[in-house]
């Protein structure tokens, strides 16, 4: 019986995958999908690279204007404005 993930399902699970919290059966289906779907494999690699790069940033590394913009964006998201 087919149990292959769709690309949409994979994107929904990608955070859990890179954090290593996917349960065994879902992890198996996730990695099976990566074997045959090049675009999704690229997406996961981009996520990993983004985490690797941004994970090394400290608050002091951020330009003040960028920090203000991010804070505004998050406040807007919480308030439903973005």
């Amino acid at each position: 019986m087919a149990s292959e993930l769709s690309c949409r399902e994979l994107v929904e699970l990608v955070t859990e995958y890179v954090e290593g919290t996917l349960p065994g059966d879902e992890l198996e289906r996730f990695e099976q999908h990566l074997v045959y779907c090049g675009p999704c494999a690229t997406h996961v690699e981009q996520m990993r690279e983004t985490i690797r790069v941004t994970g090394s940033l400290r608050e002091a590394d951020l330009d003040a204007a960028v920090a203000d913009g991010l804070l505004e964006a998050f406040r807007g998201w919480r308030d439903g404005r973005s």
């Binding site: 019986m1 087919a2 099976q32 074997v35």
Partner: protein, 168 residues
């Protein structure tokens, strides 16, 4: 237990990036199915994990059976299955397309699946064609059709590559 393992070119594990040595035991700290551990294939699992290189692997200690893989605490690459190469990979994909073609003969309602597989086959990896073919069979025959095609794929690989029924 002797099983099989697909790797990227240069003996690179596809998800961890680990470069496998040949002949040396590699230990995993834990053995949770589909978590940390040494992952390998039974013959029936091969079509789900097709990559550049196929290796025979000896697995040690307790082995956990997953749906489409086995997981062990340790393993070592024994030998490369040289018969699996780009040419045979193309042959395999063509065999998948042929089975979908036979499936759709005299069934106009299923011809769309054949068109999809034929259109994708020249540009896609063997793994992608295998998945498309299995889903075409599923669309035409239901869930049993998916299993039928996956079984046919593993039988083709075992016959063409001369594999012994490892872990069967």
């Amino acid at each position: 237990m002797t099983a099989y393992k697909f790797l990227r070119a240069g003996r690179i594990a596809p998800f961890s990036g680990f470069e496998w040595p040949v002949g040396s035991w590699v230990e995993a700290e834990t053995r949770v199915a589909c978590g940390a551990g040494i992952h390998a294939c039974r013959v029936a699992d091969l079509p789900f994990w097709l990559l550049d290189e196929l290796w025979e692997i000896e697995l040690g200690d307790e082995i956990t059976q997953g749906a489409h893989k086995v997981v062990a605490k340790r393993g070592r690459l024994v030998r490369r299955v040289d018969a699996w190469d780009a040419e045979v990979s193309t042959e395999f994909a063509a065999a998948c397309v042929d089975r979908v073609r036979r499936l759709t003969e005299g069934r106009p309602e299923a011809e769309g699946h054949l068109a999809d597989v034929v259109a994708w086959a020249p540009h896609a990896s063997a793994a992608a064609v295998a998945s498309l073919a299995a889903r075409a069979w599923e669309a035409a025959e239901g869930g049993d059709g998916y299993d039928t095609e996956r079984t046919a794929q593993s039988a083709w690989l075992a016959g063409r590559l001369g594999l012994h029924p490892a872990g069967a």
